[in-house]
């Protein structure tokens, strides 16, 4: 029987993978994928809690909002990455090094 614990373990794994992806990847698009993983781990948590422990629907509503915000965030993020590509012909984060100190 699959219970709350299984969902929480998967979501914790997703969260950790997302953080690892953000910390290690050099390609801006890959980092954005890591951020999506973090947001989706939160979604999984919310839906699982809503079903198994909280006993109300607030969590599922919350997760729908998160999906929408994630789409908006991806749009803004890709626009900024695109602007970066236009300026320096690269999406490698190591090339974003003009600001230091």
């Amino acid at each position: 029987m699959i219970g709350l614990g299984h969902y929480l373990i998967i979501s914790a794994a997703l969260f950790s993978l997302g953080i690892m992806c953000v910390l290690t990847r050099k390609n801006a698009v890959n980092v954005l994928m890591g951020i999506e993983l973090i947001l989706n781990s939160a979604n999984l948590n919310l839906v699982a809690f809503s079903k198994f422990s909280a006993g109300n629907i607030e969590g599922q509503i919350f997760s729908i909002f998160i999906i929408v915000v994630a789409a908006a965030e991806a749009a803004v993020a890709l626009a900024i990455v695109l602007a970066m590509y236009r300026l320096i012909k690269s999406v490698n984060l190591d090339r974003a090094d003009t600001l230091k100190g």
């Binding site: 951020i35 781990s41 948590n45 809690f49 422990s53 908006a72 970066m84």
Partner: protein, 497 residues
């Protein structure tokens, strides 16, 4: 439609006006291609001014919540509404006189400014984790674009990319923390969380999870307020963004972040007897000590890193990090006096910090540089700007009788009254360190000799704007009774549901 929603909308005028103004700016930008610059400017200024005047009567409205407990309407929320709208208005007024901004296409900028302001108003009054997350993202997404507004400027683009990546991770972590809180308490309402926690659901494991969730949520607030260790974006973003945007970011989202932080931790994670002016945290989440650690790290790091900066915007960025550390002090002590000191500090910080940035804008317009090296001998070229900058720097140092001193006095007094004398002493030591780099700016501008000799010609609008910042910085103490009374009235949080 539910009649309650219609009634609630009447107390939602500031937000509605800002939304209407935002739409009008978009339409005005398209409908009047010739006069778009002035049309969008006046529409947004009008929108902000109207929103400000419609917020004032809400002060006396009975404290409560709107829209089924999602948005709070209490004096604290109204105070932050007024504060944030005023900040946006000042920044808006500074934009037309700034050479950095693309003056031909500012319509989108005004839209973004109004949108972020709307988000901040909601952030400062959200009583529900869902609302908190949505408004936080609304503020963040708008500010990412504002930072990258100089499309062909590599630094601006890079700054917005860094801001975005840090912001997305910080809010993602915050969201994960919120989901754990929801799982433990079964509600997303802050007041509901407090009630469940007060009833005592916490056994050993749950207490650990609760602590982890609290830290994760703090990451989001720490990002917005630029507190160590979530500050890494701050200097780069402040340096890369156009100066009016930097000025805006250094005051408004920071204040909104503090408002949300106060609401989250005081409403959700601590209890207060009815009509008492102190709170006590739940024994199983010792967030007070986390706050003390964050605050001390923030002010010490900010001040020490500012010592070796040679770029004016980076220097002010680190200085604003340090000020966030002082402001945290007021949140640590868990009393009304502490909250009042936060509000007073924010008022003084608004005028002195915006003033300093406005002068940076003026000097950049003439010299095309943010380097402290190029500030040498400005006294000969423009005595007004130099002496005004000196006043702002003295105020940021906390020299009496300027505004900054009173802010610091209240914050330190709150810490001393909270039996944290050592903590106040660390704060005082920090403001001694800060004297060095602020004094360096004054010395560079007033004493050092520079090369250029031509006097600056400053338009009258800039004079007026700097004076608007200068007068409160100098004369705030003359109105101290009123400020004391307004802030004391404003610290009333609505804690129910």
């Amino acid at each position: 439609m539910n009649p309650q929603i219609l009634l609630d909308l009447r107390q939602f005028y500031p937000e509605l006006i800002l939304t209407a103004a935002l739409l009008c700016v978009i339409i005005g930008d398209l409908a009047f291609p010739r006069q778009r610059r002035s049309v969008t400017f006046f529409l947004s200024a009008l929108g902000l001014a109207l929103a400000f005047s419609f917020s004032l009567p809400l002060f006396s409205a009975p404290a409560g919540t709107l829209f089924f407990g999602v948005v709070a309407l209490d004096p604290l929320a109204v105070f932050f509404k007024l504060f944030l709208i005023l900040t946006s208005l000042f920044v808006l007024l500074a934009v037309p006189g700034c050479k950095e901004m693309p003056q031909k296409s500012l319509g989108e900028f005004h839209t973004l400014l109004l949108g972020v302001t709307l988000g901040m108003l909601l952030l400062a009054s959200s009583m529900d984790m869902l609302m908190l997350y949505l408004s936080l993202e609304m503020v963040s997404l708008g500010s990412y674009i504002m930072v990258g507004y100089l499309k062909n400027n590599r630094q601006s683009n890079e700054a917005s990319l860094k801001y975005l990546l840090f912001g997305a991770v910080a809010t993602g972590a915050m969201l994960y923390g919120m989901t754990i809180l929801y799982g433990l308490t079964g509600t997303t309402k802050l007041a509901g969380i407090r009630e469940v926690l007060a009833a005592g659901i916490t056994t050993g494991d749950n207490a650990v999870m609760l602590f982890i969730a609290t830290i994760l949520v703090l990451a989001g607030f720490g990002f917005k307020t630029a507190a160590v260790p979530f500050h890494f974006w701050c200097p780069d973003v402040y340096a890369g963004a156009a100066t009016p945007v930097t000025a805006f970011l250094s005051v408004a989202p920071k204040a909104a972040g503090f408002a949300a932080l106060i609401r989250f931790f005081f409403t959700g994670l601590s209890t207060s007897p009815v009509n008492a002016d102190y709170w006590s945290q739940f024994s199983f989440i010792n967030w007070q000590y986390v706050f003390i650690a964050v605050s001390i790290l923030t002010m010490t790091f900010g001040n020490i890193a500012a010592l070796r900066q040679s770029n004016m915007k980076r220097l002010l960025a680190y200085s604003s990090i340090a000020h966030a550390g002082y402001i945290f002090m007021g949140a640590v002590v868990l009393t009304s006096q502490g909250l009042q000191s936060i509000l007073i500090y924010l008022i003084t910080y608004l005028f002195m910090n915006l003033g300093a940035f406005f002068i940076v804008i003026e000097i950049f317009n003439r010299t095309d540089s943010f380097d402290l090296e190029d500030y040498r001998g400005i006294r000969r070229r423009s005595p007004f700007l130099s002496y005004a900058m000196a006043v702002f720097m003295f105020s940021l140092m906390g020299i009496p009788p300027l505004a900054g001193f009173w802010g610091k006095l209240y914050v330190f007094a709150a810490a001393v009254n909270g039996d944290l004398i050592w903590y106040a002493a660390i704060g005082a030591l920090n403001s001694v360190i800060a004297v060095y780099y602020y004094a360096r700016v004054i010395k560079t501008m007033l004493i050092d000799e520079g090369e250029g000799a031509a006097r600056f010609s400053i338009p009258w609008t800039s004079y007026v704007l700097v004076w608007i910042m200068l007068l409160p910085t100098i004369g705030l103490m003359l109105f101290w009774n009123q400020i004391e009374r307004i802030t004391a009235d404003s610290v009333k949080l609505f804690l129910g549901n």
